[in-house]
Amino acid sequence: MKFGILINEGPYTHQASDTAYLFAKAAIEKGHKIHRVFFYHDGVYNSSRLTEPPQDDRHIVNRWQKLAKDHHIDLVVCVAAALRRGIKEENLQEGFRISGLGQLIESGIQSDRLVTFGD
């Protein structure tokens, strides 16, 4: 099955991004495809290159980056939500790209299931 993922909450404060990651990983292991992860609302903070968690903690941003690279997942950050929150190309982690909400709608159209993570 082809999945699209929507993440609506920032890292660390909220479990949404963690759960989405674990879901994506499990789905891939089962042979499904994740074609895109779309970051919206505070979810855009999951793409900040400036993120530096303590050494003994998971690195949520880099974890997405690696999963995306290994499995060709398109990581898209909403431009309007990002600019509102100070996320720009200059502090965007490699492997993510900034684009418009149309990418979310397209994901809904093209995937078999669009799964939302957030409140």
Partner: protein, 135 residues
């Protein structure tokens, strides 16, 4: 890439495919940004010619209440935008009856005509959709 279609070239392979999209709004219009950013998705989505419905439940019913005044909290009153939805061919707007009644609201309190449906009917509506986005 154009502003109106949110970074999508419309010639990509979404053309011709029509799915049923339901936007579920559960949160009060102010206090958090969810309602405003949900509306931004709806407006962008309109360019994709999909079958769009909006549902308002829980405190989300306050999003479409008439006579919002936000000057005191220095936040933009975005409720007039709901009146513009008709111009985007978004005409299927639903309010859950139980949520409305629990908050002492009635049909005439809304900024645009809403279809008032019960919780069971709302559940059926959700079940009939291809994509449900809850904000």
């Amino acid at each position: 890439m154009t502003e109106a279609t949110g970074g999508i070239e419309m010639e990509e392979d979404t053309s011709g495919k029509v799915k049923k999209f339901l936007y579920v709004n559960r949160k009060a219009p102010y206090g958090t940004i969810y309602a405003l950013e949900s509306l931004e998705v709806v407006l962008i989505a309109a360019a994709f010619d999909q079958d769009v419905s909006l549902a308002f439940l829980d405190d989300g019913v306050y999003q479409v209440v008439k006579g919002q005044h936000t000057k005191g909290i220095d936040v933009k009153n975005f409720s007039p935008t709901y009146r513009a939805l008709e111009g985007y061919d978004i005409e299927k707007l639903y309010v859950e009856k139980e949520s409305m009644e629990a908050r002492g609201l009635k049909e005439s309190d809304f900024i645009v005509p809403m279809k008032i449906i019960g919780a069971q009917e709302m559940a059926d509506l959700m079940l009939s959709q291809d994509v449900v986005l809850s904000f």
